[in-house]
């Protein structure tokens, strides 16, 4: 894993009274033609008594160049005011390349002393491992190293590893990545890192999976498809000991569109749509997270109490409405029937305005808000029929669960996020999810966990993961454009922080004051595929390059697998049944559902999908029920008409 090289010295530490070497910083000069640059890791070897065994590693944080020109005016005088002549001077002035480096590590670590004024070498692989304290987790009986990229400088490159204990818990956890939009760096970095984690997650730490919320476009819709890689990418994969292959186990979930049969995702190409599971939630799933959907200004304590009553006493239970009606409320439709029964009962019995201590106005308000949910989140929330959910308790090792909510109403996105994360937490607490750790990838933290704005349920969930997730194995990989505008506790709890190309205005905010101007400049111009990484083991941020992820990028995926147009209702039903059972003949299905109410067809289809029977068509037919022939209108005897009125006028 580590290659030893012995690079020649490239510089020498210098210290003056004005710029002394300290235990945390030093300065060195190099030849004008040098491969050293901002972010380069160097090794200083001590010389002389007391320092001969001392080795100091540092990372270049700033650079200076100047000549022996005493004042710019002298250059003007020398060139007689003509800038063109300045370049024609027979002798080039003496120049210096002076660099400032921050100490990464001193060996021995005690006593901590100023950096010796020794020779400076370019760091080798082994030096990089030592400098970044990676030796602590690269070797040993149970290594926990996760490749994150290649440190490159001066023609040398060395793999950089993160410590799984500090990336995925329990010592620290979470990763936050910032960068400007449009370069695909953030998504690519997370895709590469997830692949690296899946291949290098230490066996002794158990099983791991990832849940990725696709919140925009086709970003995460093709993780199972191979993407185009260049030779340089393949070389980097080889150097990092990561196999360049798409994810082997990817499960896609997307809600339906409003028609209830076409999936609301960009992964609808006929070759791929078969892998997409519908995400459909019913009353039970929604009611537990009603507070996500209901406006807190609108729903008061009384309404809250009534919702709790419904959830605890009514839903999924045999319930007597007090007016002689027995209910078993499972769906929104059942709930609507209960509400009607209550209103009719109160009206007919004249028992006043209160039912089971709840005022009728409160009941009407809750009914109004709840029934509105299925309208606003149509496709995700079903009025009737069974739900279809993520495989809670059956999560597979090294599987990615992509929940595509890119085209879902923001309210629906909140619901999906809140419920999925809550369920993950519940199962991880009970240790019955099927895996020991889950990485939750959420993009657009500026939207979901802003530093200001109202306290939303989603923000609370993200804070909860950030602050307590590492004990459970619930790890947040968050991405955003402006780190300064994300809630401080969300980003502050991220043990590992990654920066892509940054906006200059963002870099001017106080959170980046610890970075030197040179580092900021580098961040503002960082090319695609290069990142700056902060990790608990690294005392200074490190620049790394990572290969292009081996999966199809979203925009390429849409070109190669263009989304299919929405199918007519009958065709969409056929496709879903064929997906369940390839023997299903389309014409039979179409005949079967002809003239049937769409909600009945959807209910039967959902039930079939949930049951997954051997004979899908038969099950579907049974659920659909028999066709009820329209009753012929009864012939009524009527009085024969009078004789036609005579044409006579009188």
């Amino acid at each position: 894993m580590i290659e030893r090289r012995d690079p020649p010295p490239i510089g020498r530490v210098v210290a003056t009274e004005q710029k002394p070497a300290t235990p945390h910083q030093f300065h060195f000069w190099t030849a004008n033609e040098t491969s050293i640059g901002i972010g380069a890791i160097v090794r200083v070897e001590g010389v002389g008594a007391g320092d001969s065994e001392r080795v100091v590693y540092g990372v270049v944080t700033d650079g200076f160049a100047y000549s022996d020109l005493a004042t710019p005016l002298h250059d003007v005088v020398g060139a007689e005011g003509d800038p063109a002549r300045a370049a024609e001077h027979p002798t080039v002035r003496q120049e210096i390349r002076l660099w400032t480096a921050a100490v990464l590590r001193q060996m021995p670590e005690e006593p901590l002393q100023p950096v010796p004024l020794g020779a400076v070498h370019v760091a080798s692989d082994a030096d990089v491992a030592q400098a970044l304290r990676m030796d602590a987790y690269l070797g040993g009986a149970q290594p926990t190293a996760i490749p994150v990229g290649l440190y490159t400088s001066g023609g040398l490159e060395a793999p950089v590893y993160l410590d799984a204990d500090f990336l995925l818990g329990p010592e620290a956890a979470h990763l936050n990545i910032s960068g400007v939009s449009g370069l695909a760096t953030k998504t690519s970095a997370v895709e590469f890192l997830l692949g690296s984690i899946f291949q290098h997650f230490p066996p002794h730490k158990g099983r791991i999976a990832a849940v990725c919320f696709n919140v925009k476009g086709p970003d995460l819709c093709f993780l199972d498809q191979p993407g185009a890689l260049e030779d340089e990418d393949r070389r980097r994969y080889e150097r990092l000991a990561v196999r360049a292959q798409p994810f082997e186990r990817v499960r896609y979930y997307a809600p339906f569109k409003a028609d209830g049969v076409n999936l609301n995702t960009l992964r609808t190409h006929p070759e791929l749509v078969g892998d997409v599971e519908p995400l459909v939630w019913g009353l039970r799933e929604v009611l537990d997270y009603a507070e996500v959907l209901l406006n807190r200004d609108d729903i008061d304590a009384k309404a809250d109490a009534f919702i709790d009553f419904l959830s605890d006493r009514v839903v999924d239970k045999e319930f007597d409405d007090g007016f002689g009606g027995a209910h078993r409320v499972v769906t929104f439709a059942d709930l609507e029937r209960l509400f009607r029964s209550i209103f009719d009962g109160l009206e007919l019995s004249a028992r006043g305005d209160t039912w089971r201590t709840h005022h009728i106005a409160t009941i009407r308000k809750v009914r109004n808000r709840l029934s509105n949910i299925s309208t606003r989140c149509k496709g995700l929330v079903t009025d009737d029929g069974p739900s279809n959910d993520l495989p809670w308790g059956r999560f597979e090792d090294r599987a990615v669960y992509v929940v595509d909510v890119a085209n879902v109403d923001p309210l629906g996105q909140d619901l999906v996020f809140a419920r999925a994360v809550s369920k993950l937490r519940e199962h991880l607490e009970r240790r019955d999810l099927g895996v020991d750790a889950v990485v939750v990838f959420v993009d657009e933290l500026n939207k979901y966990a802003p530093g200001d704005g109202p306290e939303t349920y989603v923000k609370k969930m993200l804070l909860d993961i950030a602050e307590r997730g590492r004990y459970l194995g619930l790890v947040l990989f968050g991405a955003e454009q402006f780190r300064s505008q994300v809630h401080r506790r969300v980003v502050g709890n991220a043990g590992s922080i990654v920066f892509g190309r940054m906006d200059s205005d963002e870099l001017a905010t106080p959170g980046y004051q610890v970075l030197s101007p040179a580092i900021k400049i580098k961040l503002a111009t960082l090319p695609i595929g290069e990142l700056m990484v902060r990790h608990p083991h690294f005392t200074q941020p490190i620049f790394v390059r990572f290969p292009r992820p081996p999966v199809l990028r979203g925009r390429d995926g849409v070109e190669r697998f263009p989304p299919a147009a929405d199918l007519p209702f009958e065709d969409a039903v056929v496709r879903q049944l064929v997906k369940l059972d390839r023997r299903v003949r389309p014409n039979l299905v179409k005949d079967l559902i002809a003239d049937r109410r769409e909600e009945d067809v959807r209910r039967a289809l959902a039930h079939t999908r949930q049951t997954r029977p051997q004979d899908a068509l038969a099950h579907f037919k049974k659920q659909l029920g028999g066709r009820v022939a329209p009753a012929a209108a009864m012939q009524r005897e009527s009085v024969p008409p009078l004789n036609p009125i005579s044409d006579e006028p009188y």
Binding site: D68, G78, H89, P90, T91, Q94
Partner: protein
């Protein structure tokens, strides 16, 4: 050589001292000619740069030296001086960056041995350092001893430079010149070489009088005088010379920007004088600041000095930022 011999004589009883003379003023001509014979013109005239293009040699070596010394001890009133001299040639090629191609240094003790107590003398001789003696008369009076020591240091430095320059001449390329800071006429080899040039910044000697002197000292910028031949005296070799004004002197001093160029005594020198002058005028830039003599000091020569000073023993130079009061004498 290190301070070890200084420690030895102090241990033997010499009284420690620390006197650093004023910064070396550079090598002045130890002895100068007086008077000159016309060569190019019947009398000294002023020549404009004219249309002659500057000489543009492919490579130029620049030779300069430094001297540093300080009084490190006294035996009675006899000073014991530690001196360091160094010289180097830095070659400027097509990349326009000077690189060191030759370098030599020497360290010596300057005193009067028979004025030292036996123990100190034995200690000094035992260290192996080269000892240069000043005259007995000079050694008896500190006011005379220190100038005598300075003269010895300058002499050693001149010899070092001369030796280095003569060595380089044997390897000088066909399109390579050697520019020496100071006179050529100390050395038979240098003064006779077709591609050696001396640039003299100090003007202690007077070669002209009357109108010719006025023409020489009031040269306009980028103008030169006629080539003349300084009159020989002593060991000096025959040489051709001319004055050249690098910067306008109006508003400054008569000697501002004025150098005297030396080249071999040969008709080709007269032919080349204008082109050589144009080349040297081009060498005005970059300015040799912050050196106070920048108006006459060519930057590559300044570069050699900077190089040598950077490599000189640090304990011979008072720290510019020292907070301690400077010692006097």
């Amino acid at each position: 050589m290190s301070r070890s011999w200084v420690d030895a004589i102090l241990a033997a009883g010499a009284v420690p001292a620390s006197y650093v003379p004023d910064a070396s003023v550079g090598r002045t001509d130890l002895e100068e000619f007086t008077g000159a014979d016309p060569v190019e013109d019947p009398e000294l005239r002023v020549h404009a740069r004219g249309g002659a293009g500057p000489l543009a040699p492919a490579a130029v070596g620049f030779l300069d030296g430094i001297e540093q010394w300080r009084v490190v001890g006294y035996a009675g009133v006899t000073p014991i001086v530690r001196a360091y001299v160094a010289a180097a040639i830095r070659l400027r090629g097509a990349d326009r960056r000077p690189h060191t191609i030759a370098e030599d240094t020497d360290e010596l003790a300057i005193t009067r041995l028979d004025h030292l107590p036996a123990a100190v003398r034995a200690a000094l001789e035992g260290t192996g350092v080269r000892v240069v003696e000043i005259s007995a008369d000079d050694a008896g009076q500190p006011a005379r001893a220190l100038p005598a020591a300075r003269a010895e240091v300058q002499r050693v430095r001149a010899a070092l430079e001369r030796r280095l320059g003569e060595q380089r001449l044997t390897a000088l390329g066909a399109d390579e010149w050697l520019v020496v800071d100071g006179v050529l006429s100390d050395s038979p080899a240098l003064s006779a070489h077709p591609r050696a040039l001396g640039v003299v910044k100090s003007h202690g000697a007077e070669y002209f009088a009357g109108p010719e002197l006025e023409r020489a000292l009031t040269l306009p910028a980028a103008h030169r005088t006629s080539v003349f031949r300084p009159k020989r005296r002593g060991a000096r070799r025959e040489i051709y010379s001319w004055y050249l004004r690098l910067w306008p002197w109006h508003g400054n001093d008569l000697l501002y920007g004025l150098v005297r160029v030396e080249a071999r005594a040969h008709p080709d020198t007269v032919t080349l004088a204008s082109r050589l002058s144009a080349w040297l005028v081009d060498e005005r830039a970059p300015l040799a600041t912050p050196d106070r003599r920048w108006d006459r000091l060519l930057y590559p020569i300044h570069d050699v000095e900077t190089y040598l000073r950077a490599r000189a023993p640090r304990d011979l130079i008072p720290h510019p930022a020292s907070r301690l009061p400077r010692t006097g004498s």
